[in-house]
Symmetry: C2
Subunit: 255 residues, 2 copies
DNA sequence: CCATAGAACATATCAGATAGGTGTGAGGGG
DNA sequence: CCCCTCACACCTATCTGATATGTTCTATGG
């Protein structure tokens, strides 16, 4: 079996007690326990594995770090719905440690969003479309406020609703894996926005175009036109990418 | 800022000391420490944050779970290159808890691989192409052995080299995010293969076709023909998907 | 029948102690 | 003078035991 152990690493060495417990717990959780179920108490597990409660504690903490468990004080640890924040941290780590990491991310994002946009057109629920529409309205509102010059707060909201729009489409695709990954991607993307704001306003002149592009995508999804949705999304992302590229280039030059 | 805390969950409650330390450590690591660097000793961190060593220990364990640190006995914890195994566990959790999770995964995989195949054609290094070729050869060898009927071991190797082939392409794409995600995807895919083998031989008759399809992809990548690489990959995955679909359908019927 | 105060249980965190793995530097041999 | 070796200092692994605090269940009194 491929290494997927807690604390898997380059060196080979005997597993610590805590790691052993963590791995066995992981299997039990993935195999037998649905999200929402709670695991036995620390003392219970401790006696079952014949280790001290503290060792169990460390093992449980590892699984918390992995995003498999949630601990509330005074109650038993609960199995958690997979949470994208753990993956998000990993993505941030990749993006930060690689000069072209952000571009890699955007490159993949384009492919994923072309897909999710088409899928959303094919099978978005009414609620899904409404969520996209809501983001759309937020965007228009903040765009109007941000239009008249200096309004960093509205600009931030504009960007946020931009991300919301795309996230809503990912959700509406009905593909949980896509939704999960996209949600995680939002974190490094948000960060890059914060960084970029130090230099200048991102796409200051492009807000109207962005809103229009979004509208076109939403219309295609509403109409259930898969091909149009894919094309509209692709066009939108292509122009966005160019913006970011030129922006980051100037940003690097400024730094 | 969006919640990306260790142990972030539905409930709101004051962070425990360990969580606080974990979050602050995470920031320090992501901001200041490159992979390979080691963090201060537990005692050191404990005095700095004014908590007991045990609390630091728990915090560190959470980060180990997150895949950000690696602990070796007797030495300081080391910052780790992002490791896909953590994400892989999350994917397994998604796939297992959702009846159509595997299809979602395959759906996304198709989009990602069409992309990575094209990227590989555009910018694969010589070493990258060699890795793909190596998987190709493994595949031919095991296909030959598996051809004459009952040889489950060769069949397993065939499937493994199949995955290797695709993974090598993901690597050759030069996109670290794609490589990372694809590596993680392999785990649930491998699992589904193991499950499927219980019923019948997967694509027993399709091995020759698979090898040929792979060869076509490799040729396109070698030739640097981006469009051909994308098309070949897409065609290959499409037929694979149909196989898996019909296979799982019969598997479900049998169960 | 319902509300509420404890009792019972669970986690959070600390202190202190022992065991055993790692790395380093002093000193001896070549 | 360089290299090897071994003891010691440092570090993590794990345990025991104790206190604090939050949660859940239950029995009792209104």
């Amino acid at each position: 079996m491929a290494r997927s152990d807690v604390n898997a690493g380059p060196e080979d060495y005997p597993l610590t007690a805590a790691e052993r417990v963590a791995n066995e717990l992981t299997e039990i959780i993935l195999r037998d326990l649905a999200p929402g179920a709670s695991i036995p108490s620390e003392a219970d597990i401790a006696s079952r594995f014949e280790v001290s409660r503290l060792t169990v504690r460390e093992a449980v903490k590892m699984l918390v770090g992995r995003g498999l468990l949630h601990i509330g004080r005074g109650r038993r640890a609960v199995v958690r719905e997979p949470d994208s924040s753990v993956f998000a941290a990993l993505l941030v780590s990749i993006v930060r440690n690689d000069p072209k990491g952000l571009f890699d991310l955007i490159e993949l994002r384009m492919a994923m969003e072309s897909l999710s946009s088409g899928l959303a057109a094919k099978r978005a629920s009414r609620a899904g479309v409404q969520a996209i529409d809501a983001a759309m309205r937020d965007m228009r509102a903040s765009a109007a406020e941000a239009a008249d010059g200096e309004n960093p707060e509205a600009e931030a909201r504009f960007h946020e609703s931009d991300l919301q729009f795309h996230e809503a489409i990912a959700m509406a695709s009905g593909n949980r894996v896509i939704a999960f990954i996209f949600e995680a991607m939002a974190k490094p993307l948000r960060e890059s926005f914060v960084m970029s704001r130090r230099g200048q306003t991102l796409r200051g002149a492009g807000r109207v175009e962005t809103v229009e592009a979004h509208q076109a995508i939403l219309d295609a999804i509403r109409a259930g036109d898969q091909r149009a949705a894919v094309d509209a999304m692709r066009a939108h992302l292509k122009s966005t990418e160019l913006d970011i590229r030129s922006h980051l280039a100037s940003g690097v030059a400024a730094a």
